[in-house]
Structure formats: structure tokens, C-alpha cells
């Protein structure tokens, strides 16, 4: 499949809406169906749509930064998990609780935090897989 200008423009115009939908799935994971893994994969599919144009995907999301983002996401998940251990409530326990001033935004802040971290990690990981495989076939 040759890469043309039409594909280029269309992909670059439509990709932000896929990122927006992925972000919606990640952040509303505790109210509506969705969550970290589902939203992360939709964000990765937005990156794959950007790969339709010649070099936009690797210019906007360089693989070095994607792997750094994935490692940082996993490190933050580990930090949150050990924070529960340090505070004496147990590994991966609910360390945030239910603060009153946020109850109009969300009633499960720990689930929101974990969903965002998991969404970042899964999105970066799956996009890294796909961009590596694309670079294999187009030297």
C-alpha cells in the first residue's frame, strides 16, 4: 500500500479523536465500561492510525520516548503499590481513600489513579510493539 497525501491528511485529522475516546475510556473507568487496559489499547490504535502517514508516527512518538514512558508507568505503579505497604495497609491497598473535596469528581480516586497509570503503560507498550513491527517491514 503506497502512502499518499490523502492518507496522510486524513490520518492526521482523525487521530486526535481516537486519543480523546481512549482518554474517555481510561478516565471514566470506574463509572462506565472501560478502564485502564481497554483505554490504553484504544490510545495505541490512535498511534497506529498515525503510522499510515510516512513518518508522522515515529516523529510524534519516537520509540525511545515510548519505551521510557512505559518504564516510567510501570515504575509509578510499583511506587503506588509499595506506598500501600509502607503505610501499613497492605500491598496495593487503597491509599487514597475518599477525600471529601473530590467527591463531586469521582468517588473512587484510587481506581482513577490506577486506571490512568495502567492506561499510559498499556498504550505505550502496545504502540511500541506495533511501531517496531512496522519499522521491520519498511526499511
Amino acid at each position: 500500500m503506497r502512502k499518499t497525501d490523502v492518507l496522510d491528511v486524513a490520518a492526521r485529522k482523525l487521530a486526535p479523536y481516537m486519543f480523546l475516546f481512549g482518554l474517555y475510556l481510561v478516565s471514566y473507568g470506574d463509572i462506565s465500561p472501560g478502564g485502564g487496559f481497554q483505554g490504553g489499547v484504544v490510545i495505541a490504535s490512535g498511534v497506529i492510525l498515525l503510522a499510515m502517514s510516512p513518518r508522522t508516527a515515529t516523529d510524534t512518538f519516537p520509540p525511545a520516548r515510548l519505551s521510557a514512558a512505559e518504564a516510567a508507568g510501570f515504575g509509578l505503579i510499583l511506587a503506588v503499590a509499595f506506598a500501600g505497604l509502607v503505610m501499613g495497609a497492605g500491598f496495593l491497598a487503597d491509599v487514597v481513600g475518599t477525600p471529601g473535596f473530590l467527591s463531586s469528581v469521582t468517588r473512587a480516586p484510587f481506581a482513577l489513579l490506577m486506571n490512568i497509570l495502567i492506561g499510559v503503560k498499556v498504550g505505550a507498550g502496545v504502540s511500541l510493539i506495533c511501531l517496531t513491527l512496522f519499522a521491520e517491514s519498511h526499511p
Binding site: 473507568g29 470506574d30 503499590a81 487503597d94 473512587a108 484510587f110 507498550g125 510493539i129 517496531t132 513491527l133
Partner: protein
């Protein structure tokens, strides 16, 4: 010979799946009642799936992220290593 091994493997997997899914499954169970009644109060999340995978069984979610990390590392190792031939 290899075709025979593949056929046997597929038949075994199909047989176990049939045994697992065949027959009547109970509509009510203690776990289901406990999660449906206490899920929102214990974790604060209205989505009961989120209450299970981030509240009651968060350790399995942690293991899932590790599995994804291994998968990404494996793919990068297997494809990027070939460019140096």
C-alpha cells in the same frame, strides 16, 4: 507425524472446553451476591468490574502489567535483533 500431534492437541483443548462449559451453571452464588451487594461500598466504584480488578483482586492486575512488559520486551528482542545481521 506433526500433523497428528496438532490434531490431538486441538481435540484435547476442545474436550476440556466442552467439559467446562457443558451443563447447568448455578445462577446464584455467594461470591456474586457478596460482590453485587458490597462492591460499591467497599471500593467506591460504580462499575463492579473495576471494583473487582482494582479493589478486591488488584494483585492480579499488577501481574497482568508485568505480563505485558514481558510481551513487549520479547517482541522488541526478537525483531530488533535481526537488523544487526
Amino acid at each position: 507425524m506433526r500433523r497428528l500431534v496438532e490434531i490431538i492437541a486441538v481435540l484435547l483443548v476442545g474436550g476440556f472446553l466442552f467439559l467446562a462449559l457443558h451443563g447447568e451453571h448455578p445462577g446464584e452464588s455467594e461470591t456474586k451476591t457478596l460482590i453485587v451487594e458490597n462492591g460499591q461500598d467497599d471500593t467506591g466504584a460504580r462499575n463492579l468490574v473495576t471494583a473487582v480488578y482494582l479493589g478486591y483482586r488488584a494483585f492480579d492486575t499488577f501481574g497482568e502489567t508485568i505480563v505485558l512488559l514481558m510481551a513487549v520486551s520479547g517482541v522488541i528482542y526478537l525483531t530488533a535483533g535481526r537488523e544487526q545481521e
